[in-house]
Amino acid sequence: MLNIALPKGRLGEKVYAMFEAAGFACPAIRENNRKLVFENEETGVRYFWVKPSDVAIYVERGAADVGVAGKDILLEYRPDVYELLDLGTGVCRMAVAAPRDFRDDPRRVLRVATKFPHIAADYYAGRGRQIDVIRLNGSIELAPILGLSDVIVDIVETGTTLRENDLAVVCDIVPISARLIANKAAYQFKNEPITRLQAALAAGKETT
């Protein structure tokens, strides 16, 4: 039985459709109920819905053999897992954004508000820029508006939220998309179904 952790929400539903098309269907998952675990003995799969940011933890610790996590989560939490495939969905970017009239003053320590302190720290360390990371859990766009930070590092999809709050992208850090990840031990002992899934998803991606 292959245990698969999927992120709850729209992305998870989209990803499940890809798994289903790849031959790893589990019709029970489409039933409208509050269940969190769904199994299909015929196709040898067991799916779990988990919070998107927790998928990597489930996979790293072996509760799930494979899962789908955003590249942002993988870069931020650096789980010890294999990243087998870019699913090409959930596409967005990690970017630095600031008020439209922002000018970076290199004499000052840059105040950066973010939900992704590792990504922000790595990015600015690579540029040799000293920063003060302000870790927030939501409404990041509010930080520069209220003067809490100079810039933000956050996920940008369409840019609508930024525009509506008079913010603009200063620069892109890294492109983000959903990735198929695997537990390192499961990859050894369940190699056949995992590589079969990887190949089928890759083939499905190419045909779409």
């Binding site: 990243e83 870019d86 031990a185």
Partner: protein, 361 residues
């Protein structure tokens, strides 16, 4: 209840005996070392954070976070040191606090020849076999990917990124890194071939042979093949994603897995570079077994707090309680004698004893 615990201890006993029979002596180290020693070699440690304290003589000491460094310190030039250890080390854990981790391992240091390297690799395989019949050993030689990177002509930073992709089996980002660095398709494909290399040793060797024609490459493939051929084929896989810290490790690196344990339980390789950094000549190879992970595997959670709870009546003479407990424990069960059954205690079996020492139910 006690059976599972004994299983872990028995396995450890079997491993010690295995190492002893191969000529490895037990290395016992002090609980503390001078902090300066670890500070000088901090990049080798799993984490730079170590537990420190000021000793009574004013020296800054550290609670040992590692054993290998101390063993190297005790090796002498011109000799071969074969040592194994079974020690607790103190390191930060994933939960963000320090933890005590039981570690067992083996090191072979000095003027080593190919046999010594093979001996350690083979002991790694035998150690896994002693722990479980369902194990796998992933073996890699860092030289292949390092050399393939060198031949692309990319800088060190790009090389590190490529190694990171290899460690994640991340072909999509490897392609992107190659493309951004201007690596030609032919050379990028050779890197991809290593990342996607078949795990079957025979097929892997054939793929390796096809990548580069030069004598140095082919000689290394032959040497790698010689090592692989002496290991149990069904249990050994070639996996170039085993990428240890390259500042210290070179050549063969390996990782062991047991079915049911979600992380590797064994990790090792050649670390000649570490030896050189510590000012020692010669070669070194060894491995560590993560017994904390293994223990979890051999010690499933008990459904009961006790095998047998013996409830004795008030005023029962202690010698009669002791005799009844001894009788009930003859088959190896753990017997807990109590005057009354605690509400939260879950026992496999509850036995009552009257004041004359007779079991009533």
């Amino acid at each position: 209840m006690s059976t599972e615990k004994n299983t872990v201890e028995e396995k450890i006993g079997a491993l010690r005996e295995l190492y002893r029979r191969r000529g490895y002596a037990r290395f016992r180290m002090r609980q503390f070392e001078a902090y300066d020693f670890y500070a000088r070699n901090k990049n080798f440690l799993v984490s730079e954070n170590v537990i420190t304290f000021t000793d009574l003589d004013g020296k800054l000491m550290a609670l040992k976070p590692d054993v290998t460094l101390s063993i190297i310190k005790n090796s002498d030039a011109g000799e071969i040191l074969r040592a194994y250890y079974h020690e607790n080390v103190y390191r930060p854990t994933k939960s963000g606090t320090f933890g005590e981790i039981m570690q067992m391992g083996l090191e072979c240091i000095g003027d080593l020849d190919e046999y010594c390297v093979f001996e350690v690799l083979s002991l790694a395989a035998e150690s896994l076999d002693a722990l479980s019949p369902d194990w796998l050993l992933d073996v890699s030689d860092l030289w292949f990917f390092s050399t393939a990177i060198e031949r692309t002509g990319v800088d060190g930073e790009t090389g590190d990124k490529l190694f990171a992709c290899l460690g994640e089996k991340n072909a999509h980002d490897l392609k992107a890194v190659c493309s951004a660095a201007g690596v030609c398709e032919q050379k990028a494909n050779k890197l991809l071939a290593l990342l996607n290399c078949d795990s079957d040793p025979r097929k892997a060797l054939s793929i390796l042979e096809s990548l580069y024609d030069d004598a140095a490459w082919q000689a290394r493939v032959a040497a790698f093949g010689a090592v692989l051929s002496a290991l149990p084929e069904a249990r050994v896989r070639v996996d170039f994603s085993v990428v240890s810290n390259r500042k210290y490790y070179n050549g063969l690196v390996f990782q062991g897995f047991i079915n049911g344990v979600p992380q590797n339980v064994l990790s090792g390789g050649q670390y000649d570079n570490l030896l050189a950094r510590m000012g020692k000549s010669g070669r070194a190879v060894g491995f560590a077994l993560y017994l904390d992970r293994v223990e979890e595997y051999f010690m499933p959670r008990d459904a009961y707090d006790a095998d047998v709870v013996l409830i004795y009546a008030p005023h029962t003479p202690p010698r009669l309680v002791a005799a009844a407990a001894a009788e009930l424990g003859k088959n190896g069960d753990a017997v807990t004698a109590l005057p009354a059954l605690p509400q939260k205690l879950k026992a496999r079996r509850v036995v009552r004893l009257d004041e004359n020492g007779v079991i009533v139910c």
